[in-house]
């Protein structure tokens, strides 16, 4: 049994959030009736001329800036020739030797890895270098029936950004983290919603194995048809196992394209690559070259605070733990919610705790997105402040929270309605403490003999007697004084 080194490179196609197509004005709308958004350009009719969508160029340049790419002064579009019914003009407009963006990288982080390996990742902050990012047009959507295929051209000609990584990904988990990190950045920049299940982000994987000690890369095998990030991880893990078994048996791997079947958890052969495809690229004479300087200047102000910077800022500005900062920054709407709620908080860390514990579990139990959260950030801030000020207890806080989540009412209103007020009156608490001490001589004796934890039991009894209304901190102080 040999050890094998795994080399993975990903090609990610991203649908840009433009309103119109890449080279014509047809609307970009998903889920529309078939063939309702077409024109002579995207149907490939003779004589129709493409004109570039300014916004698509800008979004690609913005992505390049977010990912630290070099944006060369000039880019151009080329024709990539092939025959397939999803591409009626028999070439796809793409970028060949002068893409919009070169180099750059996708920074990974611990929380981008699958949950089960987050704690054991050796190098969570690895940066996966990129080869290039280019802009092209998407093809039509094919649906296959028993005896024929049906083509819908609504998607044909919509802008598609292709992000190509260097073959520097070394495990299925790293591929998962790469896609998760990339998706977050694309969402931060508002260039795409990057939802793989909706086809807004699509991924082709190239994977090869070579025995340890060998410098030359092994046979490259391409996997297609994954539609979730976890599917990519599983497909790659399956391929590593399959290729390892082949190599151990002394078989020679062929350069081929395989299809992932999510239901069976296996890849199967699509086609063997007999020769390098010859696409006969040449510059598209219908499209003029693009000078990028002005486009880059236009989008530079739109480079957002990126996830890594936001995580670091949350930790330093609000004092939340690195882990909590990561969870909050993972989801842009959640991060915005937190910032609104924490703006006037006495203790922003407590606001983060309420969001990460109570709020996230309530949202998930009711299958509600943060955008539709019934509790406004301002109300959550108010609730946490009321608890921090000792006006109500943490336990009462949970009751108020549940009511806020159900009704959307302000915490002040609910506290008033329910008559919830934490008992901080010294006299009242002293009376309750006396009761508790009298009723529990055993605990008192234990405490006096040095078992200091017994005071927590007594404190619990005080809370019970007060029906949860006593201020636990005050109760603890009074008990300690009385038992001293």
């Amino acid at each position: 049994m040999k050890n094998y080194l795994v080399t993975i490179g990903l090609e990610v196609h991203v649908q840009l959030k433009t309103r119109s197509k890449m080279f014509c004005g047809c609307p970009v709308e998903f889920g529309a009736q078939p063939n309702t958004h077409t024109c002579p350009v995207c149907l490939g009719m003779p004589g129709a001329l493409p004109v570039m969508n300014h916004q698509a160029l800008k979004m690609t340049a913005l992505t390049g800036l977010m990912l630290g790419c070099t944006i060369p002064p000039v880019c151009k579009f080329d024709r990539k020739h092939y025959f397939y019914p999803d591409m009626p003009k028999n070439y796809q407009i793409s970028q060949y030797d002068l893409p919009l963006c070169l180099g750059g990288g996708v920074p990974l982080h611990q929380l981008a890895f699958p949950k089960d390996v987050q704690k054991t990742v050796a190098n969570p902050d690895k940066v996966i270098p990129l080869t290039r990012i280019h802009l092209e047009e998407d093809v039509a959507k094919s649906t296959h029936f028993d005896a024929s295929s049906g083509i819908d051209f609504n998607r044909a000609g919509t802008p598609l950004m292709e992000i190509v990584s260097d073959p520097e990904i070394s495990s299925p988990e790293e591929a998962f983290a790469y896609l998760t990190s990339l998706k977050q950045i694309l969402i931060y920049g508002n260039v795409s919603d990057a939802d793989m299940e909706k086809g807004q982000m699509r991924c082709d994987c190239n994977i090869s194995l070579r025995p340890e000690g060998q410098t030359e890369l092994g046979t490259k095998i391409e996997i297609k048809n994954m539609n979730t990030i976890s599917g990519v991880r599983r497909a790659l893990a399956y391929e590593i196992e399959r290729q390892t078994a082949c190599l151990d048996r002394g078989e020679k791997l062929l350069q081929e394209t395989r299809r992932w079947d999510d239901a069976s958890g296996q890849t199967s052969l699509m086609r063997v690559k007999e020769s390098e495809a010859d696409y006969r690229y040449f510059p598209d004479p219908d499209l003029l070259p693009v000078k990028t300087e002005a486009i880059v200047a236009e989008v530079r102000p739109f480079v957002p605070e990126l996830p890594a910077t936001k995580r670091a800022r949350f930790a330093s500005q609000y004092g939340v733990s690195a882990y909590d900062a990561g969870v909050l920054a993972n989801d842009l709407p959640l991060a915005s919610y937190f910032e609104k709620a924490a703006a006037n908080a006495r203790n922003p860390k407590n606001v983060a705790n309420w969001i990460l514990n109570e709020l996230l579990s309530s949202l998930s139990n009711t299958e509600t997105g943060i955008e539709a959260c019934p509790i406004s950030p301002e109300h959550l801030d108010e609730l946490v402040n009321v608890i921090d000020e000792g006006k109500i207890s943490g336990k009462q806080g949970k009751e108020v929270f549940a009511e806020m989540f159900a009704t959307g009412k302000a915490p002040g209103v609910i506290i008033e309605e329910k008559g919830l007020k934490q008992e901080s009156d010294l006299g009242a608490i002293e009376a309750l403490c006396d009761q508790a001490i009298a009723a529990n001589p055993k605990a008192v004796a234990e405490y006096k003999s040095g078992k200091l934890a017994s005071i927590n039991f007594l404190k619990g009894q005080v809370m019970k007697l007060s029906q949860g209304k006593a201020n636990p901190a005050v109760a603890g102080e009074v008990l300690a004084k009385k038992l001293a």
Binding site: S149, D278, P285, L288, P289, I295
Partner: protein, 94 residues
């Protein structure tokens, strides 16, 4: 210098079925074209930037404004076969 043109390979890329006689004919015609291109290689272009366009025009773009195109009936008017609003084509298997 005689330039060779691989007619069979190029015809294959273009999905053309050529007879042996056609291959021979195109072979000689296309080789002549290549020979002419070889002649152009003699011109000194060291000071000329490569371009696919005659005019130095850049950044011809349109704003991202959607507008209506064909109705589905117009879109499908030339389709040899159609079904459920789709262009129906011989089954493609990848």
């Amino acid at each position: 210098m005689k330039a060779e043109f691989d007619v069979r390979y190029t015809a294959g890329l273009a999905r053309l079925n050529l007879s042996e006689a056609e291959i021979a004919k195109f072979q000689s015609q296309l080789s002549q074209v290549l020979e002419y291109v070889e002649e152009l290689k003699g011109v000194d272009v060291s000071q000329v930037e490569p371009t696919a366009h005659a005019n130095p025009v850049f950044n011809v773009v349109r704003e991202d404004e959607p507008r209506d195109g064909f109705t589905p009936q117009e879109a499908l008017a030339n389709a040899p076969r159609q079904a459920n609003g789709l262009f129906a084509v011989p089954k493609v298997i990848e």
